[in-house]
Symmetry: C3
Subunit: 226 residues, 3 copies
């Protein structure tokens, strides 16, 4: 009974946190604000054939063949996610490029996966683990905080890494928001999510990623308030 | 920390209120109950060209070109709304006619907009401010309460105003339910929402409107309970 | 005020329970996990003509003509459900066959209907009342608990009944989860929901049904945790 009360209190706590996130800050990866995947720098999508073979030998949650756009949208069911095809290393590396609808300064990244306890046999090995956020700019990122995190891996020229975060598949909340260590020196229009490892599958799926930060315009006065 | 606790408590309070609204009373503007916009008395929709020009000069949230029906449906993202084209006054006037699926007596109106804090730069100037609810009937409305609100503006013949309400873009809850002052003397089948002013944009967007009230049939007994 | 506090506390309690259900256990009737209706053993769908006649004589919530798949999916509005055509008895009998995406052992069944208070005139006579869960297997079910429920009605050969439950349209929560009395002796791939009575309409509608239980694979170790 104590355990049950603790679980309920945690469920409530997560629920409030997730509602506050949804209503309390703008998401610049929102398709409603014009964000779109950039095909040229996004991993290929897990193909029907790969998915079929995988199901025969090693079934996890049946991957639907959704396009990268799916990773920017809300979800209802297991499989409402984008899955990248495995690369040669088969270690779950995946890359998602995103063009924003309007320029901004990123400060936080949110990553969301199917909650472990709602997956059959609690199998979410295709969840991301280490994730880097890169942005397109020539100006090196400034460090926002005393840097104590892991360094990002090497990335392409003309891009800067703003932070390396770790999605915890055992976390109390399946929606996890991370502060970015680095600060862009100019407003950015293109971002790139690089999953450098996952939780054990040969491919990685993304249910939803969100980006928060500061827009360019001043907050409007209540000029029309009556 | 006190401020944070207060915000969490408010988020929870709003969450419960919104769930109670969703599950606790019928919404006669629900498309599932047969409600549909009436084209002839609904403002034209903001056109792609107007939207495009607007984005060049004065970007707010990118308006998608959704039909008036969108204002009756649930939403997920910024832009999942219906935006009326500006009229000559460019003061945000907008009109939405709705045919109900079944006749009823209106008692309450719910208006919902994108929460201010989830819009980039908190810019929701296209939110409605003063809104009137009119219904199609020849019988003048009775006043339900001692009348202390503002009078409605002039309206078309054969329609009666049941109330004038004010949507507060700074309100604690982005879902706001208003008691209607006037009472229809016969069940109504057609309603009209008239936005007479907004919060500063040259056009108005509606995320969701709902209508509550009394249906015509008696509440069924538990005749089949076993 | 005490009554209102009680209602709010109940709303919160239900909300947490429903969130825990959604995130806390796998739903093997999820289309995302590959579940699909089995046409041959599913009742015909309420036809447009029947729906039209019904509306003339005895209007309940306007039934949309949704396929059986709708009963496995989430819903937003009244009418986002599957309605079975009335059989000759016109007592609301309905049958829904479901092929699972992967074999499992069922332990619980969840039934969800439009909340009574959100239906016009609180009319949800088409909600299910007595519901049996059958599974395709030749092995007789073992009784999980000391059996004190009602026996199932007769069913087809090669199927076993795992439980008979009663959906309470007056229940505090419109999402109701039931423990199944019977235990399958082998993993099952096909299930069948048999509604043997409803709450007074001549046909039955299902908003959403879910199935919970044990999968076949071991819960993965945290083999990749770093
Ligand atoms: K998604
Ligand atoms: K909407
Ligand atoms: K449904």
């Amino acid at each position: 009974a104590v355990e049950h009360a603790r679980l309920r209190s945690m469920a409530l706590s997560n629920l409030i946190a997730n509602i506050e996130l949804q209503y309390g800050k703008a998401n610049y990866f929102s398709t409603g604000l014009g964000a779109r995947p950039i095909q040229g720098i996004t991993s290929p999508t897990l193909s029907p054939k790969a998915a079929f073979l995988k199901n025969i030998y090693h079934r996890v949650v049946a991957p639907k063949i959704n396009p990268p756009l799916t990773a920017l949208q809300t979800w209802d069911e297991p499989g409402d996610c984008w899955c990248a095809a495995p690369d040669e290393s088969r270690s779950g590396k995946a890359q998602l490029g995103i063009e924003l609808g309007e320029p901004m300064y990123p400060t936080q990244l949110t990553i969301e996966h199917l909650p472990r306890s709602s997956a059959p046999s609690e199998d979410i090995r295709s969840a991301p683990q280490n994730v880097e956020l890169w942005v397109k700019t020539d100006e090196p990122a400034m460090e926002r905080f005393a840097f104590d995190g892991e360094r990002c891996e090497d990335g392409p020229e003309g891009w800067q890494c703003l932070g390396k975060v770790r999605y915890d598949r055992n976390g109390a909340n399946h929606v996890q928001t991370f502060l970015l260590d680095g600060e862009a020196q100019e407003p950015i229009k293109k971002a790139m999510l690089r999953v450098t490892s996952n939780w054990g599958a040969d491919h990685t799926c993304l249910y939803r990623v969100r980006l928060h930060g500061k827009g360019l315009r001043p907050i409007p006065e209540n000029e029309s308030s009556s």
